[in-house]
Symmetry: C2
Subunit: 286 residues, 2 copies
């Protein structure tokens, strides 16, 4: 039987998902967005089989609803449409924080299966005009199912991830996901914006080396999105940030001591950790 | 008249310089290194016209001596060979700190012209086996001449920079150079090693996104070299590090306050600075 898949939010991620899932199994793909320019672009570029600005018209007939809104938008959508989903439907989100979203999904009736997802891909851009169907190739697809999530729905998301070209599907808890993401992604963004706050920034224009470009690339971030991602994951992020401040302060203290052998020992230890991290493992060989 | 150019130290930078300068004007290029494996590699790959492990044999006949040693090696070399240079010779170093080197060069007699240089290029590797002649293409070549440096010697280094493929030559003071480098490069390395000191590092293996890879790429650094670069530039680096700690702490405080509009304002300001930095300017159009 033909499945009806609704993607709510056709920005960078939702648009890319739509492009990648248009030929997924036997499904009708319906795109929802409140922005007329976005819908026009989606229509002109054949992003989905059907497009609408009215979620209320399509949510009730959907077998699968993928929420590709900003995190607060997902929270709000779940509250607003809680009683509109089809019984037995799978609702999933694809945003970068999971504890707050899983918490918000508790408003849903028991007849609806909610599974948190995070396809770990993206770019520093936003908007459907930057979407591309290959975005998820070779990325991890993280799932945070609930204890009561059905096997069928998990299997469906796994097939979807395979169709997106993801290299693997990784099931974990929302808390473990959020701690991971606070360290591997969120604090990198806090570092990038903090470096750009330095008063010397513009004096150095043209003299940034590759390390500077690598560290600050993500600083030109989507403010609305990241305000939500940071604040909805504040507890985990603050822990990582405090550990970073400690580690930086330890380097500061060692440098200020003038003790070269202590500085060398400390650099040896950190550099060895980085080399160890870069050794080919199951992930890199995959 | 044929110029005799001696490059002391055939590691990543010295080896790359030698490869790039072998056909520079009418010169005899002589490579010096104390390591036999390095000399063997250099000989097998035709890195210079002549090779020797004994600087004493060639320094006295050199018109130009380029010191491509680690910073402390340069300081020691200048002290050891101070009376061996040919009167009228140009001695230059190519390392990444300048104030400490210019200070060390004061041991030279007045008959020797010393000019600090910093071709702003490199990779995260070290050793002659990673050297390549194209390393300096499109990079800046920084000069910190002394007031008494001759026009001829500055012009010679400018032609050399052009031959290396550098996009421009930028003359500045050692202090301004060191402040710039502390911010655009050194503190990026301190960030990278500090991030790798986090206890979560290995738990995240395989889940590092592009922001994490971009930020930590340089953490597997050459410990001997960077211990010297950091410690010989400690004053400038500590200033930058303190400003970074302040800027990170300001983000920490804003995040902890739970005030979303303040967080959004702060992110807007930083992101706008990054976008402003990335606007095409004279440098990017060049």
């Amino acid at each position: 039987m033909r499945k009806r898949v609704v993607i709510v939010g056709l920005g960078l991620i939702g648009g890319s998902l739509a492009l990648a899932l248009k030929d997924f199994e036997d499904c009708e793909l319906i795109g929802v967005d409140v922005s007329q320019p976005t819908l026009r672009y989606a229509s002109e570029h054949g992003v989905a089989h059907r497009l609408t600005s009215r979620a209320a018209d399509v949510v009730g007939e959907a077998d699968v609803v993928l929420l590709a809104l900003h995190p607060q938008g997902i929270v709000d959508f779940l509250a607003e449409y809680r009683d509109r989903f089809k019984p037995g439907a799978l609702v999933a989100d694809v945003c970068g924080v999971k504890t707050a979203i899983m918490e918000a999904a508790k408003v849903l009736p028991e007849t609806v299966d909610f599974i948190g997802c995070h396809p770990m891909a993206g770019t520093e851009f936003s908007g459907i005009e930057h979407a591309f169907g290959e975005m998820f190739r070779q990325s991890h697809f993280i799932l945070t199912p609930r204890a009561e999530s059905t096997r069928e729905h998990i299997a469906l998301l796994e097939r979807m991830a395979a169709h997106l070209g993801c290299k693997d599907v990784y099931k974990t808890t929302p808390e473990a996901h959020d701690a991971l993401i606070a360290y591997t992604s969120q604090v990198m963004h806090i570092i990038a914006v903090s470096v750009c706050d330095d008063p010397m920034l513009f004096d150095c224009k043209g003299f940034e080396g590759s390390s500077f470009r690598g560290c600050t690339r993500v600083a030109a971030l989507d403010v609305g999105l990241w305000t939500q991602l940071f604040s909805l994951n504040a507890a985990a992020l603050l822990k990582v940030l405090d550990r970073l401040l400690e580690n930086l302060a330890a380097y500061r203290e060692t440098l200020a001591s003038g003790d070269l052998s202590r500085l060398a020992d400390k650099l040896s230890s950190s550099a060895a950790r980085k080399r160890q991290m870069d050794l080919p493992g199951p992930d890199l060989l995959g």
